[in-house]
C-alpha cells in the first residue's frame, strides 16, 4: 500500500502532501521534514530508493525522483515494487506535464485509498478532463462567469 505522496522543492518546502493513513498536522510536518532531511543528503548518482523504516515504521520504503527544483516522493510498504513505484512517479509527472492543474484530482485518479488505480497518463488526463468539463458545465449554470473582476481585484 502507498502510504503517502509528497512533492517538495529542493528547499524542503512542501508543494503537495497526501497521506493515505491519517496523520495529524504536526506529524505530517515532521514526516515531510525528515524525508527532506534524508533526500537532501543523497548524491545525484545514487539509487532512487531509501529505506524509510526509521521515519515511517518497519518495512516502509521511499522512492523519490528529482526533477528540476522538485522532489517527487512516494512512500509505500513492502507490498509494492520499487521500480514500479518509480514508474508511477513517472506517470504522475508525465500527466502533470501534459496538464498542469488539479493536482489532487490527478493524484486521486492515479492512487485511490493507497492503492494504484490507474497507470496510464492518457487515461488519467481523459478522466480529469471529463471532470473539468462537467464541472464547468455545472459552473456555467451556478456561477456564470469565472472572471468576475469584482472579487478578483480585492
Amino acid at each position: 500500500m502507498i502510504k503517502s505522496v509528497m512533492v517538495m522543492n529542493t528547499q524542503g518546502k512542501p508543494r503537495l502532501a497526501k497521506f493515505y493513513d491519517f496523520q495529524p498536522v504536526e506529524k505530517q510536518q515532521e514526516l515531510i521534514r525528515s524525508v527532506f532531511g534524508v533526500l537532501c543528503g543523497r548524491a545525484d548518482n545514487v539509487s532512487n530508493f531509501v529505506e524509510a523504516d526509521s521515519i515511517f515504521g518497519p518495512g516502509t520504503r521511499l522512492v523519490y525522483k528529482h526533477f528540476a527544483t522538485l522532489y517527487f516522493v512516494f512512500i509505500f510498504d513492502s507490498s509494492e515494487n520499487e521500480l514500479a513505484m518509480l514508474d508511477l512517479i513517472q506517470v504522475f509527472v508525465e500527466t502533470l506535464d501534459k496538464c498542469f492543474k488539479n493536482l489532487h484530482t490527478i493524484l486521486d485518479e492515479i492512487i485511490f485509498g493507497g492503492q494504484v488505480l490507474e497507470t496510464s497518463s492518457i487515461e488519467v488526463i481523459k478522466a480529469v478532463e471529463e471532470i473539468s468539463k462537467l464541472e464547468s458545465a455545472s459552473n456555467a449554470i451556478a456561477l456564470v462567469s469565472k472572471s468576475v473582476s469584482g472579487w478578483r481585484s480585492r
Binding site: P14, V25, S79, A84, K101, Q115, L117
Partner: protein
Amino acid sequence: MGSQGGFGQSKEFLDLVKSIGEARSKAEEDRIVLNEIETLKRRISEPDIPKRKMKEYIIRLVYVEMLGHDASFGYIHAVKMTHDDNLVLKRTGYLAVTLFLNEDHDLIILIVNTIQKDLKSDNYLIVCAALNAVCKLINEETIPAVLPQVVELLGHSKEAVRRKAIMALHRFYQKSPSSVQHLVSNFRKRLCDNDPGVMGATLCPLFDLITVDVNSYKDLVISFVSILKQVAERRLPKSYDYHQMPAPFIQIRLLKILALLGSGDKQASENMYTVVGDIFRKCDSSSNIGNAVLYECICCVSSIYANPKLIESAADVIARFLKSDSHNLKYMGIDALGRLIKTSPEIAEQHQLAVIDCLEDPDDTLKRKTFELLYKMTKSSNVEVIVDRMIDYMISINDNHYKTEIASRCVELAEQFAPSNHWFIQTMNKVFEHAGDLVNIKVAHNLMRLIAEGFGEDDDNADSQLRSSAVESYLRIIGEPKLPSVFLQVICWVLGEYGTADGKVSASYITGKLCDVAEAYSNDETIKAYAITALMKIYAFEIAAGRKVDMLPECQSLIEELSASHSTDLQQRAYELEAVTGLDAYAVEIIMPADASCEDIEIDKNLSFLNGYVEQALEKGAQPYIPENERSGMLSVSNFRSQDQHEASIHGLRFEAYELPKPSVPSRPPVSLASATELAPVPEPSYPRVTQNVASVPSVSSADPSDLRLRLDGVQKKWGRPTYTPSETSTSTSTSEKTVNGVTKVDAARDTIYSKVRDTAYDSRKPDAEIPLEKQKLAASLFGGSSKTERRASTTSHRAGKASSHVIEKPQASKASDKTVAEKTIVQPPPDLLDLGEPAVLSRSPSIDPFKQLEGLLDSPQVPSNSNHGAAGANKDSDIMGLHAETAGSGPSSGIVNPVPTNKNDLDLLSGLSNSTTNNALGGTPTAHSTQVSKGPNTKDSLEKDSLVRQMGVTPTSPNPNLFKDLLG
C-alpha cells in the same frame, strides 16, 4: 489544489503562494502564514460569503495546513461545502475534508448523510467524489451506513465507478475485515469484469485476502495464470500499455499473487512455470518498468516451488541487474539475490565481486541492502568476515536507528555462528565500544554470563583462558575515553570477578584502573556502583588469599566520596567495602568466595528459618511484617539484590549467605542467600530506583531471569568445543574448514603476499594488483565454503565423460593443474607476480581438494568452476582478470581512472594466459588440453554476454571482450 491553471484564484491567493515561495526563512514563512490565518479567520465567519469565494477560502485553508499550521477553525465550512449541489463546490468540499479530517473526527457524522445521498446520485462524478471520501472518512462504525450503496455500485454502468467501488470495499476490508467478510465473493466476481481496469483493481483486495488465507483461493490459480498470459500476450487494449509494456502494473500484481499461491505448492506452481518463463523471455529489459516486471518474476520464482529452468533465467536477470550501472538496478539485483539464495545458495558465488562492489559503493541504500544480503547468507564459515565488515560500517555511520539495527544483527550473528568464544568476546567488545548505548542491556548480561559460565562444559582450563583474555582486552580498552555505560558495566564486573584470577595482573593495577573509571564517569551512578563492587571483590580475594592489602589513596578517597553520596545504594556499597576490608581472611573467604557467580543459590521463599527470630521480635513488641504489595516504592527491589553487597551490609545474616553453594563449610545451618536478601529492604523501604538496574546485573549470572537463560542455551550449543580452535584469529579462516590441504595452501599464499607487499617498490602495476587481491580474498572468505559442495555434485556428472580418460594421471595431474591455475593468473614479470597471482586462486583452492578426496575423477580445478552453468564459469574466469579493470574504475567517484594501465594489465594478463596455455600444450599434459577445451565455449559465452550488455549501454565489469579473441583464435 483546486484549479491551479491560473484562473479562479484571486490575486491575493496567488500573492500568498508567491510570497511563501520567496520566503527566505522558516520564520518569515510562518509570519506570512499566521497573517493569512488571521485574515481567513476573520473573513470566513463573515455572513453571506459568495460560494465561489468560500471555495477559495477553503483551498487557502488546505494550503495553510499543508504548510503545517492549524486550520481547524475552517473545518466546519469545508463540511458545509460538501452539502452543496454544485459539482465543483462539492468536490472542493470533499477534497478539503479528506485532507483535514481523520475517520474518527467529530464532524464526520455530519458528512455521512451527504455521502449516502451522493452515492445514489445520477451524476457519476458525484458518485466518484463520494467514493473518494468514503475511503478516507468512513470508519468501522460508519461502514454499515454506506456499505449497501457501495455494494450496489459494484454493478454500476461506468467502469470508473465500479473500480472505485471495489477499492472502497477493499478499504473497508482493511479497516474492519469482519464487516465485509460476507461480501468477499464480490471480488471474485469482479475479477471477470469486462473492463480490464476493474479486473486490475480487484487484484488489490484479492492480494490482501490471499495473503491472509492462501488455501481458499487455490482454485483461482488457473484464472490468474490465464489472465497473466493474456496480458503478456498483449490482449489488452493499447491504452494499458506503458512504455511499450503491456499493462505492467497488472502483471506485477498478478506475479505477486502467484508468488503467494505457489509458495510451497508444487501443483499450483507447475501451472505457473510456462507463463513466468514467457515473461522472462518477452520482457523488455531496457526500460525501467520492464525491469520492474522482471524483478517481480524473480520474486515469484524464488517463492514458488523451485524450477531449475526458471531459477536459471532468474539468475541471468540478476547478473544483468548487478552488472548494470544504474544503482537502482544494482539495488534490485542485490535484493533479488537475497531472495533467490534461499532456494539456490550457490548463485551468490557467481556474483561475489559484484556484491563486494556494492558493499563498497558510496550509496548508502545500496550498501545497506548488501549488508542485508550478507546477513542472510551468513554461515559459520564466513561469519567473521561479515561481522567485521558490519562493525566497520556501523562505526562509520551516524544514523542511530540503523546503527542499532546493525549492532543487533552483529550480536545475533555472533551469538549464532561464533567460531570461538575468544572471537565472540572480541566482537562484542567492538560492538559495545561503538554502539554500546544502543544495544539491548540483555546483550551485556549475556556477555557477562558467557564469561562467567564459559563453555558450559567442565573444562576449567579453557574457561580461565577465556577469562584472562577477556580481562586482558578490557584492561586495554578501559583507558579509552568515553566508553558507553553498558560496556563499562561489563568491564567492571569482569575485572572485579576475574581480574586477579590468573595472577598476571596485580590487584593494585586493576584497582587503580577501576578508581580511574569511577572518577572519569563520576556522574554515572551505575558505573560507580559497578566499580566499587568490583573493588570490593578484588580486595576480598586479596584478603582471602592471605596477601596484604594496601588500599590506594585514590580508592580511599573514592570510598569517602561515595560514603557521602546522595545515592543510598552507592553509600551502602562504600560501607560494605570498608567493612569487608576490616575482616580477617577466614571471614572474607566465606562471604566472598572466588568465582562463585555461577553457583546455584537455593531460595527458601518462606523464610521458615527466620520464624524463631520473628517470633522473638514480635514478643518484644515489634511491628508485624507488612507484605510487599501493600507497600509502595520498593517493589521487587529485593529480588534483584546482588549477593555481594548484602553480605556486607546485613551483618547478622551475611555469614550464612554463601553457605549453600559451599558445602565444604558444614557447621552452619543451610540458609540461602536470597532469603537473606528478602529482609534487606525492610529496614529501609525507600530504596532508590537505580538499585534495580544496578543490582540486576550480578543477579543475571547468579540467579534467575529465565528468558536470558533461554537465549543463551541456543548460543552455547553453537559454541560446542569442536569448532573452537584458539589459533583462529585471522579473518580469512573460512576456507580452512573445508580441508587441510586447502588451508595450508591458503596460508602459504597469504604469507607470501604479505611479505611481497611489504617489499615495496615494484613496477606500477603493483598497487593495481593489490586491491583486487584484497577483494578476491574477501570474496573467497565470504562466498567460499559450503555452497561449493552442492555445486560439485552437479558438475561431476557433466564433466565425467571428458574427465574419465585422465583418471590415471590423477595425482600428478591435479598437482600440475594447481600450477596451471596459478600461472594463468600471473601478470607479466613472473618472479614477483607469481606470488601475487597465487592468492587469486584462493577462492578456487578449496574446490580443488574436495575433488581430489571425494571423486578423484577430475583432472583440473578449472572444471568444477567452469562447466555447469556456462556463464557462471566464464564469470569466474573473467572476474579474476576483470579485477584489474574493476578496481581501476571503482575508485571513489573518480569516473576516469587512467584507462591505459588497466588495458595494459589486461593485455599482460592475457599474454600471460596464452603463454601458460601454450606452455601446457607443449608440455603435453592432459590437463592443459582439458582446460583449454573447457575454456573455449565459456569465453564465447562471456563474449556474447558482454556484447549484449554493451548493446544495452552498460559497461561490463569484465575485461574487454576483444582481448579474448586471441584466445579463441
